[in-house]
Amino acid sequence: MSVSSSSPAENAFSMKGISKSFGSVCANEGIDFEVKIGEIHALLGENGSGKSTLMNILSGVYRPDCGKISVFGETRDFRSPGDAIRCGIGMVYQHFKLAESLSATDNIIAGLSKGQIFRALQTEKSDDRHISTMDPDVSVSPDQKQRRTGTNYISDLIRKFAKRFHIDFDPDKLASQLSVSEKQSVEIIKVLIRGAKILIMDEPTAVLTPQETKKLFSVLKKMRDQGCSIVFISHKLGEITELCDRVTVLRKGRSVDTLVVSQVDTYDLIEKMVGRKIELEIVRPAPNPERLECLRVEGLTYHDEKGLAKLSDVSFSTFYGEILGVAGLAGSGQKELCEAIAGIIRPSSGSISVDAEEISGLSPRSITAKGVSMCFIPEDRLGMGLVASMGITENVLLKEYAFQKGIFIKTDRASEKSDQIIKELDIMTPGVRHPVRLLSGGNIQKVILGREIHLHPKLMITAYAVRGLDIQSSHTVYRLLNEQKKQNVSVLYIGEDLDVLIAFCDRIMVLCRGENMGILDANHTSKIEIGQMMSGTRLEVIRTGVDYVSNR
C-alpha cells in the first residue's frame, strides 16, 4: 500500500537521510520524509520515536548530524529557526514558546520589522473592512486598558487577521492570562503572520478538549484549502483518520512507511507504529464491591502565592480496591490537589482524611508518623519525585534515611532494595549508582513506581503516570496499578488521555478551574460528556439540561 514517491515539483519540502543523536540516544536515523503542497500530513509514532526531533530539525531548532533538506525544490541548510521562517516554515511547539509577561501582540510581532508587520496584516485590506463592519465585537472592549496606541492599532489588525482563520482571542491580554487553547492560537497566528506556507503542529490536541480539538481541525482544514501544507504530529489514530490526507509512521527513530490515510487500516498503522501486533485493550479488573472509604476530601480550597484560587471547594471520596480517575485541562488544579493530599502544600481550608484520620495541613513526614501509608508519584518525576543526578540507591534512600538511627547514612539496605526493584520491574540501567536522569523516560518512571510500591501504601496518587512513555511502558504502568488495585489499594489516577481514563478507571472526576464538575461512572459516559465538563459544564447541567447555577 506504500505510495510511490511524488515528483519533486509538487513537494512543499523533502527531508532525506536525516540523522540526529543526543548524547548516547539516537533520535533520528536516516529518516526520509516528504510533504506535498496543500496536504495535511500526519507524522505518527510512539513517544520517543523521534517525531518532534525530526520537526525541530525542519524548523531550524536542531541541526541534523547529517541529511539533506529541500524546501519548495531548493536545498536548504538551516542555521537557526530564523532561516527556516524565511523559507516559509513555521512550527507550533508542543511546549509553547511565549514570554508570559508580554502581551499576546508583543509575542506575535517580536522579531518582525514594522514594514513586515503591516505587509502581513494588510494584504487583504478590503476583506478586513468587510469583516469589521459586520462584526461588532472586533472593536476593543472599553474596559481594556489602552496600553499604548501604536500596539493597539496593531492589536486590531491582528484580531482581524485571526478572524480570517476563525481564530478568536484578545491580543491585548498578557500571555500569562491566556487559556491553553488561546496560547495555542497565539502560536498559530505567530507562525501565520510570518507568512508560513508549511505549518508544523507538534501534538496540538494533547492540551485541548474534544470540542476545542474539533475547532482546531476546522482551522487547519481551512488553512490547507488556502494552500498551506501542514505536518500534524500525533500518536492518536482517531485524529489522523479524521483530519489527515497522508501519514508517515516513525518507529525508534526510523521512518517505517508513508501511506494514504483513506486507504489504510487502523490495525496496520498500530502494527507499523509499535513494530508488532499488540493488544491495545486496557484491562480493567472489577473493583472491590465493598466500597470501603479510604480518602475523603471535603471542601478543599487552595490559594496560591498570588492569591489565585487553584482549588475551590473540592469534595470527593476514594474507595479501597478502586481506581478513581481525574480528568481536566492542564492546570485545572490537578497538581495542587495531589500536593495538598500528599502534604506538600498547605490547603487554605477544607479537610482531608484517610481512614477517618485527619491529615490536612500535615507535612509528609507527620502523615507517615500518623501511620497513614500513602504514596505520591508526581508529574515532574526528575524535578520532584527523584533527585536527577543521584543513582537508584540514593533515590531509594530519599524515603528511608529519616528513619535510620545515628547521624551517618547506611546504604546497604537501600542498595539491596534497589537491586530488588531493578529485577522486579526490569529496569535497564548500568548500575545502581548511574544517575537516574540518564535513564529513559520509561525506566525513570519504573524507578519511582518501584520505590513507592515497596512502601506498601494503602493510598496511591499518580499524576500523569504515562506521560512521555511509549506504549509498552505505559502498559507496564497500567499493569502495576491494576495489581495494586487488586491488592485493595485505593488509587487516584490523574490522566490526560480521555480514552485511557474511560477504559482504565472505575470512576472519573472532572476538574475545571479548580472545581469539581462531577464524578462519572466510567462505564456510562463518553468523551463528549467529559469534554463538556472539562470546559466548565457541571454534570447536573448536562444530565438534566437545566443550569441550576444560573437559575439560582
Binding site: 540523522s19 548530524d65 506538600i344 551517618f408
Partner: protein
C-alpha cells in the same frame, strides 16, 4: 564546520583534564602576551614557578595566601551546594576577624594563649555565622534575592570596620593616626616552619566537610535541597531548617577564615584584611566543582599565581598591569574550560550524500563505552 552538542556527564578524569587544559591555555595566552610585550616568555614562566614554589620564602608566601582562600572557599562551597549564592564571603570574613579582634581587645594583656586563641576562633565562627544568617533568614523565609543581599552585606562590613578603625577602636597610643592595636603576642597562632599553624584549619575542614557531605544525613539533605527543593519537600524534609543550618555552617567557616587570618597573619584588624579573598574564593569553589579536596588544590594554584605574578613584576621589572592581565587571562581561560565539561564540539565532515551517518569523531571516542544504554528500553 562544527556543531555543539551537550555532554551527558563528565567523569572526574574529564573534568581534571579539561580544567588542566584551560589552565594550560591560560598559561600559553599569558606567555604569548608577554612575548608580544617584548619579554622572554620562558624566563617569565620560570620566574613565576621559582617565585611561587622554588624558594623557601616563595613557598611560604604561597601557603600564607592559600590558607584564607581555601578556608573561605570550603565555607562557601557548603552554601553553593544548596544553590544558595553566598557572595558575602568578604563581609563574613571581616566580621569573623572583627569578632576575634573583639576577644583580643576585651581580654586582659596577660590572658593565656590557650584560652585566647580558641576563644578568638570560636568568636570568629560565631561572627561569620551570625553575619551570614541575616541575609539567610530573609532568603529562607521571604525569598529575598540572596546574591545581592549578601553582596551589600560586604560593603556594610567594610564600612563598619572602617568605623572601628578610625573611631571606636582607635588606639590612643597611635597619637592621632587611625588604627587598632595589635593582638596580644600569645594570641597569635604558632608558626610551623615559618608558616602559620592556621594551615591545618583548611586541611581538617576538608576532611570534615567531605565526610559530612557524602556520608551523613545532614549532608545528604543538603545535597537533595541543592539539587531540587521540590524533591526535598516531597521527601518530607524541612527545607527551611536545612538551609538555615547550611548557611550558618557556611558563614561560620568563612568567619573562622577571618579569625585565622587575623591571628596567624595580619595580627591586627584593618578594612583591607579581606583583600578580595571572599570574591576569589567564590571563583575557586566554582572551579573546584564544590569538591572539598579539589578546593585545596585550586586554592594553592591561585595563591601560587598571586605570588608568582608578584615575583615576575619585581624580577622582570614589568608594569603591575602586566601581572594583572596575566592573572586575568589565567582566570578567564580557567573559567572558559567549563564549556568543554558541559558540551562537546563535533566536527562535521561536509558529506552531502545520504550514506549512513558519520556522527562519531575522535573527540567522542571516550563516550562510546557508555553508548550501550539507549535502546535497552525496548525488550524483545
Amino acid at each position: 564546520m562544527f556543531r555543539i552538542a551537550k555532554r551527558e556527564k563528565a567523569s572526574i578524569t574529564d573534568s581534571i583534564r579539561f580544567r588542566s587544559l584551560g589552565f594550560l591555555a591560560g598559561l600559553l595566552l599569558s606567555m604569548g602576551f608577554i612575548a608580544v610585550l617584548g619579554y622572554n616568555p620562558f624566563s617569565a614562566l620560570v620566574t613565576l614557578l621559582i617565585g611561587a614554589f622554588g624558594t623557601g620564602t616563595g613557598l611560604r608566601n604561597t601557603l600564607t595566601f592559600a590558607i584564607p582562600l581555601a578556608t573561605t572557599a570550603l565555607g562557601l562551597s557548603v552554601a553553593f551546594r544548596m544553590k544558595y549564592w553566598n557572595i558575602g564571603g568578604e563581609g563574613q570574613l571581616l566580621i569573623g576577624a572583627t569578632a576575634a579582634m573583639f576577644v583580643s581587645l576585651v581580654a586582659g594583656e596577660n590572658t593565656s594563649g590557650w584560652i585566647l586563641v580558641p576563644m578568638m576562633l570560636l568568636f570568629g565562627f560565631i561572627g561569620g555565622a551570625w553575619y551570614a544568617l541575616i541575609p539567610g533568614l530573609f532568603r529562607v523565609y521571604f525569598r529575598t534575592n540572596e546574591t545581592l543581599f549578601t553582596l551589600m552585606m560586604n560593603y556594610l562590613a567594610i564600612a563598619f570596620v572602617k568605623y572601628l578603625y578610625h573611631v571606636l577602636w582607635k588606639d590612643p597610643l597611635k597619637s592621632g593616626f587611625p588604627g587598632i592595636r595589635s593582638i596580644q603576642e600569645q594570641a597569635g597562632l604558632p608558626r610551623i616552619l615559618g608558616v602559620s599553624a592556621g594551615i591545618i584549619v583548611p586541611v581538617i575542614l576538608m576532611i570534615v566537610l567531605y565526610v559530612l557531605i557524602s556520608r551523613t544525613k545532614p549532608g545528604y539533605e543538603i545535597r537533595v535541597v541543592g539539587e531540587s527543593e521540590p524533591t526535598a519537600h516531597y521527601a518530607g524534609m524541612n527545607v527551611q531548617k536545612i538551609m538555615v543550618g547550611g548557611i550558618i555552617l557556611s558563614g561560620g567557616i568563612v568567619g573562622l577564615a577571618g579569625a585565622v587570618k587575623l591571628s596567624g597573619e595580619t595580627l591586627t584588624l584593618t578594612e583591607s584584611l579581606g583583600g578580595g579573598t571572599g570574591f576569589t574564593a567564590i571563583v575557586i569553589a566554582w572551579l573546584a566543582n564544590l569538591s572539598a579536596p579539589i578546593i585545596l588544590v585550586v586554592s594553592f594554584l591561585f595563591a601560587a599565581l598571586q605570588q608568582g605574578a608578584q615575583i615576575i613584576q619585581l624580577r622582570l621589572n614589568v608594569p603591575a598591569a602586566v601581572a594583572e592581565i596575566i592573572k586575568g587571562l589565567m582566570l578567564m581561560s580557567f573559567l572558559g574550560s567549563e564549556f568543554f565539561l558541559r558540551y562537546r564540539i563535533i566536527f562535521n565532515k561536509r558529506d552531502k550524500s545520504q550514506s549512513y551517518p558519520q556522527i562519531l569523531s575522535a573527540s567522542q571516542s571516550s563516550d562510546i563505552e557508555t553508548d550501550k544504554t539507549p535502546d535497552k528500553e525496548v525488550k524483545p
